[in-house]
């Protein structure tokens, strides 16, 4: 590995009013990988992602993106370095149209030629959005909003895409559709860090995984190996394992 990892989190700690949510997480994501961060409710997955883009401050530790420390940078500056986050709950701009949501996704790439090209790519990836460009974002179904959130995030053509529970609250068929799009985005060369509670799906989609329990990484490794790990199978895949 000659190149620095796309993302390198070292001993990150996040707390809210004295209560620790992330207690020394270290993880790295290399170019072209899909890495997943799995864990139960309240494990600190969202807090970890937020700290990477500067939405919550790091108490200690560091985050490096393409070898550059984000220390002292504001979110819009970090994002300008080629990162995008699809937040938990999607955070669509509900009273803006689908088209405007997408345009804003490309806020850092405002030249009309880029906007046009990127919008076409999003519509190609999610044809449902193409039919609804002038509809208000808030009127979309949950699945369509998730698609819009992902499309919006790739409008600026990030090199690193962070996804926070893209399967949350979606019907199985829609989940399939969304994950097919994620695979296509990855195939186009975008590096992905995927946060999920749907462990089975996450392990199937990603190359490597980290398991987060109450703010700490307890296990990490190759997804194929982890799928066979009895601890994972018992705790996360709901299988009855007699190890």
């Amino acid at each position: 590995m000659a190149d620095a990892p796309v993302l390198e989190v070292t001993d990150a700690r996040v707390s809210y009013g004295g209560i620790a949510a992330v207690k020394g997480v270290s993880l790295s994501v290399n170019a072209g990988e899909i890495v997943t961060l799995i864990g139960a409710n309240g494990a600190g997955k969202t807090s970890t992602l937020k700290s990477i883009v500067g939405l919550v401050p790091l108490k200690t530790g560091s985050v490096k993106i393409f070898g550059q420390d984000i220390k002292g940078k504001q979110t819009h500056e970090i994002v300008a370095g080629g990162v995008a986050l699809v937040p938990e709950g999607r955070a669509i701009f509900g009273n803006l149209t689908v088209r405007e949501n997408l345009q804003l996704g490309g806020f850092l790439r405002r030249d009309p030629a880029h906007q046009k090209r990127a919008l076409e790519r999003c519509v190609q990836l999610f044809p449902r959005l193409g039919e609804r460009l002038s509809q208000e974002g808030g009127t979309l179904s949950g699945g369509e909003q998730q698609m819009l959130a992902i499309a919006r995030a790739i409008m600026a053509e990030p090199k690193l895409l962070l996804l926070d529970e893209p399967s949350l609250g979606l019907a199985p068929k829609i989940v399939q559709e969304v994950f097919a799009a994620i695979a296509e985005i990855a195939a186009s060369g975008i590096t992905i860090l995927l946060v999920e509670q749907n462990t089975r799906l996450a392990l199937k989609t990603a190359n490597r995984a980290y398991v987060l329990v109450t703010g700490e990484i307890v296990l990490s490794g190759d997804c194929q190996a982890l799928q066979r790990d009895p601890r994972i199978r018992a705790a996360y895949l709901g299988e009855d394992v007699h190890a």
Binding site: L55, V79, A91, F93, L104, G105, F107, G138, G142
Partner: protein, 305 residues
């Protein structure tokens, strides 16, 4: 009938001024969920900046010679006042509100009241408490239209207000600054994730709202003849009620609310008693808060999860 039309015209011109001020309240509320009480003083400072700029441009001498103040100079007065108030609005946000942005919501509110009082008192110190006659930037010409008296001042108020509203509509709907402003008002963190410099966007919002208030201040001076350092208190409060009436945070709502308050005030003054012209605003406030607290154009939005 002609008396009614007369009240309507007077009401709409007063309402235009309320609308211009109300826009600043509603835009700042939309983006920060803050009631910027100092906005009424930004309006006052705008009026005074116009007053002094016209003086510096020699309006007194022209008046004595019986010459009209040229239109292009009137536009200069408007621009200078709008620019000065924009700067003041941005400074207020930077110096007073930004440092307390992450504090509990009551803190910025109290800060806003403090800034408002500070500026009122600074106004009395710098401008003196004496009411000033507003210079005739537009020399009044009256003409009669079917029994209704219209002045070029009223027409100017309508034209300037309409032009500024169209400009604002374009800015908010069609430019990147406007898109960023709308994004920030829906979801601050999501806007940051788009790469929007939210600090700059908030500054832009204050600048635009304050510039509109300054235009309102000059039009108010032209319409009401005198200004004083406390002119913002009652007028600002009425404009704030206008914003609530239209649906706070809603830009078209501020315009509708402003016009309605102006109309109601004139009609009450004309048909009931001039004594009640100020009271009607607050009657409207109470009624709207009981019947439709989200305002005429406000919507109760439910987030889909």
């Amino acid at each position: 009938m002609s008396q009614f039309l007369q009240q309507v015209i007077n009401g709409l011109s007063l309402g235009s001024i309320y609308a211009l001020i109300a826009l600043g309240y509603t835009m700042v509320y939309g983006i920060l969920k803050l009631i910027n009480f100092a906005h009424s003083e930004v309006f006052m400072v705008g009026a005074y900046t116009g007053f002094y700029t016209a003086g510096a441009l020699g309006i007194e001498g022209m008046e004595q010679r019986g010459a009209a103040f040229p239109l292009y100079l009137a536009l200069v007065v408007l621009m200078v006042a709008m620019g000065a108030s924009a700067l003041l609005g941005v400074l207020i946000e930077r110096l007073a509100y930004r440092p307390v942005r992450s504090a509990p919501r009551l803190t910025p509110l109290i800060t806003a009241i403090g800034v408002s009082l500070l500026l009122q008192n600074l106004g009395m110190l710098v401008f003196t408490p004496n009411p000033r006659r507003y210079p005739p930037i537009i020399k009044e010409v009256r003409f009669e239209l079917g029994g209704v008296i219209v002045t070029n001042v009223k027409l100017t108020i309508f034209v300037v207000t309409l032009a500024l509203m169209l400009g604002l509509w374009y800015l908010v709907q069609r430019t990147w600054t406007g898109r960023a402003m709308r994004a920030v008002s829906v979801n601050l963190d999501a806007a940051k994730l788009m790469g929007i410099d939210t600090g700059r966007t908030i500054s832009a919002t204050f600048a635009i709202g304050s510039a509109l208030a300054a235009a309102g201040g000059i039009l108010f001076g032209l319409d009401q003849i005198t200004i004083n350092p406390l002119m913002g208190t009652l007028t600002g409060l009425k404009a704030f009620v206008a914003a609530v009436l239209g649906g706070i945070g809603n830009i078209p709502g501020a315009v509708v609310g402003g016009l309605l308050i102006g109309l109601a005030e004139q009609l009450v003054a004309g048909y009931v008693s001039p004594d009640y012209r100020d009271a009607i605003t607050f009657v409207i406030l109470i009624v709207i808060l009981i019947l439709r607290p989200e305002g005429i154009l406000g919507v109760v939005r439910q987030e889909k999860v």
